[in-house]
């Protein structure tokens, strides 16, 4: 933790004098701005994708499945959550490669996969961080008493109305809690982008400048910190912290 606080000063301190030049570079040069925008964009897309994928699965786990199936599903979701990040990124690298399984499967249809690039980064990130979204949503849904749902049912609400008017507002803080992880983890990632694309992200830029220009790298690393602090403050407002 102490290292985190020292970071801000450090960006100027390596030459033993305090300067804001590095921050100026980051703000003024287009490269950094477009890299930041691209990273934030991908992080947001990944978060939305994961919410869409996680909701039905989490709902099925929490409210529909029998206890036996539920505990199986919990393990099925938790195990990949903890299994190697690198291996998962690597698996996608092989799947998306020219001669990979995706192109092989799509070939008879006459189309080819997205190859390496931004789409690949989006896919891989959504894949890797998906369980991080499922778990909080599942926990949030489990907290909703069944009686609330049957009450809505008895009052004549259709399934979709119940979802929109009852479940969604109740589970929203949990979704925000999950999005903290998907968003933050995507923001700082640099391994997956290097494996499946050649475009630059915040992580890859920091990684490549840290050996040549440490203060600049550190200054650029404060960008995700700043974004995350704002994000966490909003998340706290939305009541997400009770779900962490």
């Amino acid at each position: 933790m102490a290292s985190f606080w020292s970071l801000g000063e450090l960006s100027g301190e390596i030459e033993q004098n305090f300067t804001l030049d590095n921050f100026q570079t980051i703000v003024e040069e287009d490269v950094y701005r477009s890299v930041t925008l691209r990273t934030v964009g991908i992080a947001a897309l990944v978060t939305i994708t994961d919410v869409i994928l996680a909701l039905p699965l989490a709902f099925y786990m929490a409210k529909v499945a029998t206890p036996r199936v539920r505990s199986l599903l919990v393990v099925a979701v938790l195990v990949p959550l903890w299994s190697s990040y690198l291996v998962k990124a690597y698996a996608w690298r092989t799947i998306l490669s020219e001669e990979g399984i995706l192109n092989w499967a799509l070939d008879p249809l006459g189309i080819s996969g997205p190859g390496y690039g931004n789409v690949a980064v989006w896919l891989v990130m959504s894949y890797i961080w998906l369980p991080f979204m499922i778990v909080p949503i599942y926990a949030g849904l489990e907290r909703i008493p069944d009686s609330v749902l049957s009450a809505s049912d008895d009052l004549g609400a259709k399934a979709w109305t119940t979802f929109r008017r009852v479940i969604w507002p109740l589970v929203f803080p949990a979704i925000v809690a999950g999005s903290i992880f998907t968003f933050s983890l995507t923001l700082g990632d640099f391994i997956a982008p290097t494996l499946v694309s050649s475009t630059q992200f915040i992580g890859t830029v920091v990684k490549s400048t840290i050996t040549t220009n440490l203060p600049l790298a550190a200054a650029f690393a404060t960008v995700p910190i700043a974004i995350m602090i704002v994000y966490l403050l909003i998340a706290r407002r939305l009541g997400a912290f009770e779900h962490i």
């Binding site: 450090l10 919990v74 099925a76 990949p80 959550l81 299994s83 690198l86 001669e99 926990a139 992580g203």
Partner: protein, 283 residues
């Protein structure tokens, strides 16, 4: 809630598809590990186990494996001690800055790994003047392992009533005896689960590791990353990848079983909490 047949079926299909999405890539890697051909073209030419033998004989991979074990064990050890102490303090005592501590402990996992990595790297090399080495890897891993242990223990402490400790004190036990005879046995499974998860995390951590590893030091994930680009090493990388999956999955599975088996009547509530604790416990 009553669901129409169609909605129920749609939900099942969505669940199945998502699970397939989660597991197909892992399956692909396992299949590639048995691939006879040296390239990654699909479908594989044939199946063989010869690469497993070659992987075990590969000194680079073996050294990296041992280093990962060592770093994981030591980081977990540090995390168990510090994480337990921090969680005891936060769960049982009210003191100035308590809320801040619980926030600060959680912060490293809410921050992108690259930030922790850069922060550690600059602290070590610029402020403390420490050479990057196995020691710095361990310290780096300990930072997020502490969070895992802390979360598990704090979740357990919330479930445990403080009255047990008060009763012990009333019966004349010193604080140390109370800790040893009352608190610790109650925390045991939480500690084992936290330790296993911490070890699993440390074993395949890569982002923080790239910033804290010395030049000669290669943990297993670093070795994999390094060998991606070497075509003739590819089959061995595939095998090592499968080994890494296994080693990170087994502790998680064990930890999950451990925390699920006990708890009895409170299991439903507790499991929700535990899931949250686990969800939080990610760097």
């Amino acid at each position: 809630m009553r669901l129409s047949k169609g909605a129920n079926r749609a939900l099942k299909v969505a669940t199945g598809l998502t699970l397939a999405f989660i597991y197909i890539p892992l399956a692909v890697i396992v299949i590639y590990a048995f691939n006879t051909s040296q390239t990654l073209s699909w479908p594989p030419d044939g199946l063989t186990t010869e690469w497993f033998g070659k992987a075990i004989d590969n000194t680079g991979a073996r050294d990296a494996f041992l280093l990962s074990l060592e770093a994981g064990a030591l980081a977990t050890g540090i995390a168990l001690i510090l994480g337990t102490l921090a969680s005891l303090a936060v769960a049982r005592y009210k003191f100035f800055g308590r809320e801040t501590i619980s926030f600060l402990v959680i912060l490293p996992i809410a921050l992108p790994g690259i930030v922790t990595g850069v922060a550690l790297n600059t602290s070590f090399t610029q402020i403390l003047g420490v050479e990057l080495s196995l020691f710095t890897i361990i310290v780096g891993h300990a930072t997020f392992c502490i969070v895992v242990v802390y979360n598990n223990v704090v979740a357990r402490m919330r479930r445990l009533s403080g009255s047990l400790e008060e009763a012990s004190a009333d019966l004349g036990a010193t604080p140390w005896t109370t800790f040893r005879r009352v608190t610790l046995p109650n925390l045991r499974t939480a500690l084992v689960a936290g330790g296993l998860l911490a070890f699993g995390l440390s074993f395949d951590e890569i982002i923080v590791t790239t910033f804290t590893a010395g030049t000669g030091e290669q943990t297993l994930p670093l070795w994999i990353l390094d060998n991606f680009s070497r075509p003739n090493q590819l089959p061995i990388v595939n095998v090592v990848a499968v080994i890494v999956i296994l080693i990170s999955i087994i502790p998680v599975y064990a930890a999950n079983r451990l925390t699920q088996d006990e708890g009895g009547a409170t299991a439903g509530r507790a499991r929700g909490r535990k899931l949250e604790a686990e969800a939080t416990a990610i760097p």
